[in-house]
């Protein structure tokens, strides 16, 4: 019984941490702050799914947590690649990248 109380407290703490990380994802001045906060929210979500599986007495939720951990990593890498190159696929050039001043902008700044 007491371990049920402990699991409930852990779930509440994980929820508070998700809220705090969400504030950072909403405030974040650069895109990389948002990517970092979303990655942390994904990690917390994996932990919360595990704890919820124990809390509900249904450990089948651990399979979902495993999948969520995989998708979280691949999603973060895909979002970073999109920031860097502006596309995910065929034309890999850094022209449309967020945070990268393109060559035309630099030339116009010099003028």
């Amino acid at each position: 019984m007491s371990i049920q109380i402990m699991l409930t407290a852990s779930l509440i703490a994980l929820g508070i941490a998700v809220l705090i990380a969400f504030v950072r994802a909403a405030l974040g001045p650069t895109a990389f702050d948002r990517a970092l906060a979303v990655n942390s929210i994904g990690t917390i979500a994996v932990l919360a799914i595990c704890v919820h599986g124990y809390w509900a007495g249904r450990p089948e939720f651990l399979d979902i947590a495993l999948l969520y951990a995989l998708i979280n990593f691949i999603g973060t890498i895909a979002v970073l690649k999109f920031f860097r190159f502006g596309t995910l696929g065929d034309h890999l050039s850094s022209e449309h990248a967020i945070g990268h001043p393109s060559e035309d902008d630099q030339k116009s700044e010099k003028k």
Binding site: M6, S10, A17, V18, F32, T43, I44, V46, P59, H100
Partner: protein, 114 residues
Amino acid sequence: MDILNLIITIIGGTSLALGSLAVIFGALGLLRLSDVYQRMHGAGILDTGGAGLILFGLLLLSPDWTVSVRIVLIGFLLVFTSPTATHAIARAASMAGIKPILAPKPRKNKEESE
């Protein structure tokens, strides 16, 4: 045998509590630090301390060996992927030209007094 179960349950619950504290402190660091590279420190606390302690506690509390295998798999996956993701974010931020906040240079008065 009963006492052994009790000890294992107590250690698992304590590990869960410490892991929850580490997750909250990591999220606070993510909110309050003042730079991308400093915020990665909070994310690192969350990824290693929080996830490691909570998964260790759940591993001690697991009712069955198949559950234990899944917990260990999730732990391995998080240990391998989250530093890689954090490193990718740091490298992308560095290549985008974001400079880290450095400590101010020491004044000349200090050098004279030394």
